[in-house]
């Protein structure tokens, strides 16, 4: 009888574990408020001027990406500038950090803890064997039962681990209280194949309150490497909060001919409104839609639609100098396949299929930014050229249209392919993608980030202009 009771109790306990295990629901928004929540305009910035606008984008690449972006943050902390008559650090002027995957750990930690990044992040993440802890959590018998639940996956275990070990249970309400920079952690909406950014503007159509979401969950979604983890689930509460679609969506949906890119953004935005068709969303690694974290800032640079549109800020005279620093931890292993006449095996082929399109897309994204800046610069030079000809041919005449507002543009790229020494370049380009790297590699990544900034022509010019 006693043995029978024990069996029943164990069976009941296991069933309860399976039944109780579920992902944490993203909270429902009681009422849509377009001015509330985690948005750029709601972030206080007592020490940060708007006129010098600095954007950082951090790529994916596990601890390699986190350490490289951390090295950049260290360099910005040590870079003294003078702006509007006040001496400060360039780090204090960072307005936006847009990140993906490994880079999201650095971005989120700085957003939540500010200077604490330089005091605790090394021990909390960079030198910690997070990979080992993730694998270890899979060996816990309790987790076997939890993972048997259809609504609890490996990404939820990872999210719990990050929450406990790195982010101290902090939520987006805590991130909002910290003020600037505006941290954009990017994942990928699996059904739309589109970037999904953890900001209230993205959660509005879902009628969900981002303030109640743990930051660790956003970082987990952003670094949700396919197959290794399960997709991260969000609930779509659309239709329950009197959400009013932003004007641009209705306009953009008419733009299939003149501007397919805008039409596509509008089409994706509308897809979240149908909670019957899409009661849930499933998120994968942000790297699948943009492995360099630059697409969001690019849209803000090219469009009046985002709430933090840079076009609008420039039009309103808020920005005098615009700086974009792209931190790219992309690797490029040596020609290992081409040393043998045998075709590469299935694992190598799958790895190539999984990574090469992402790298090519990142390259194109960086090029788009370069061309955008060149276009802006060219428009100003065209105007100045015409004005010079007018003054030469018709002295005393003025241009029939006003000039574009003056704007200083600085585009800085930090990537291993900028390393001049070939053996050193190969060393960094061959580093593994993992959540655990040897201490020496982490230290080398921090060092090379500082050195690459030092040798960047635009970064040098920026520091000269800001003396």
């Amino acid at each position: 009888m006693k043995r029978w009771c024990k069996v029943v109790l164990v069976f009941w306990g296991c069933t309860a574990l399976v039944g109780c295990a579920s992902y944490p629901r993203n909270p429902q928004l009681a009422k849509y408020e377009p001015g509330a929540g985690y948005r750029f305009n709601n972030l206080s910035s007592p020490k940060n001027s708007d006129s010098l606008f600095v954007i950082l984008s951090f790529s994916g690449g596990g601890t390699r990406a986190a350490a490289l972006s951390y090295g950049v943050m260290e360099k910005l902390r040590g870079t003294k500038i003078t702006w509007e008559g006040e001496e400060r650090r360039l780090l204090d002027e960072v307005d936006v950090i847009s990140s993906v995957s490994g880079g999201s750990f650095t971005a989120a930690y700085y957003g939540l803890f500010g200077e604490g990044l330089f005091e605790k992040f090394e021990q909390a993440f960079l030198y910690k064997d997070i990979q080992g802890k993730l694998v270890g959590s899979l060996w816990s018998p309790v987790n076997w039962f939890r993972l048997a639940s259809p609504t609890f996956g490996r990404i939820d275990l990872a999210s719990e681990l990050y929450d406990r070990e790195i982010f101290d249970g902090k939520t987006y309400a805590d991130l909002l209280r910290q003020g600037r920079p505006f941290v954009l952690l990017n994942a990928t909406d699996m059904s739309m194949g589109a970037q999904f950014t953890f900001e209230q503007a993205q959660f509005d159509p879902l009628c969900s309150d981002l303030g109640g979401v743990h930051v660790a969950r956003a970082v987990a979604a952003s670094s949700n490497f396919p197959v290794a983890f399960t997709p991260l689930t969000l609930n779509n509460h659309a239709g329950s909060c009197d959400f009013k679609e932003p004007e641009w969506v209705g306009k953009g949906i008419k733009d299939a001919q003149p501007n397919p890119e805008r039409y596509n953004r509008a089409r994706i935005a509308r897809s979240y409104l149908d909670a019957k068709e899409r009661p849930y969303l499933h998120l994968l690694d942000g790297g699948i839609s943009d492995n360099i974290g630059l697409r969001g800032p690019l849209v803000a640079l090219r469009s009046n639609d985002p709430q933090w549109s840079l076009l609008n800020k420039i039009g309103n005279g808020e920005i005098k100098k615009l700086v974009v620093i792209t931190v790219d931890a992309k690797t490029s292993p040596p020609f290992k396949f081409d040393k043998s006449s045998s075709p590469p095996d299935v694992k190598d082929v799958l790895e190539t299929v999984a990574t090469v399109p992402m790298q090519n897309y990142s390259f194109d994204t960086v090029e788009l930014l370069r061309k955008e800046f060149e276009g802006w610069d060219k428009a100003r030079r065209n105007y100045a050229g015409c004005e010079a000809i007018l003054h030469q041919k018709c002295p005393g005449q003025t241009m029939p249209v006003p000039p574009l507002p003056p704007l200083g543009l600085y585009r800085v790229y930090v990537g291993f392919d900028q390393i001049e020494d070939e053996s050193e370049r190969r060393y960094f380009q061959s580093m593994a993608t993992s959540f655990h790297l040897p201490r020496k590699q982490v230290d080398d990544l921090r060092r090379i980030a500082r050195e690459l900034l030092d040798q960047s022509r635009d970064f040098h010019q920026l520091t000269v202009d800001l003396r």
Binding site: P246, E247, W248, K251, G252, K254, D255, P258, N259, R262, R302, S303, N304, D305, Q307, S309, L311, N312, I314, G315, N316, G317, G375, W376, A379, R380, N382, Y383, C386, V401, P402, P403, L404, P405
Partner: protein, 74 residues
Amino acid sequence: MEYVIARYPVERDVFIDWQAAGKTNRILMVEKGHHRFDLGRPGDYTPDSHDLTVESTTELTPLILEFSPKGGIS
């Protein structure tokens, strides 16, 4: 990139698709496509808004949108 100037006798805010995007009589950078332009509150100007497609402009030949005070210029 497209270029637009909203003309009005005095300086006022210009809203593109309900977001503050610049000032009147200055050149604005605008994404190609359908947009609504207005001058916000008070609504003492005409027309209430311009709803149109912005394309094929340059920094030297921007689209000019005319607004005027209701009842004419005093």
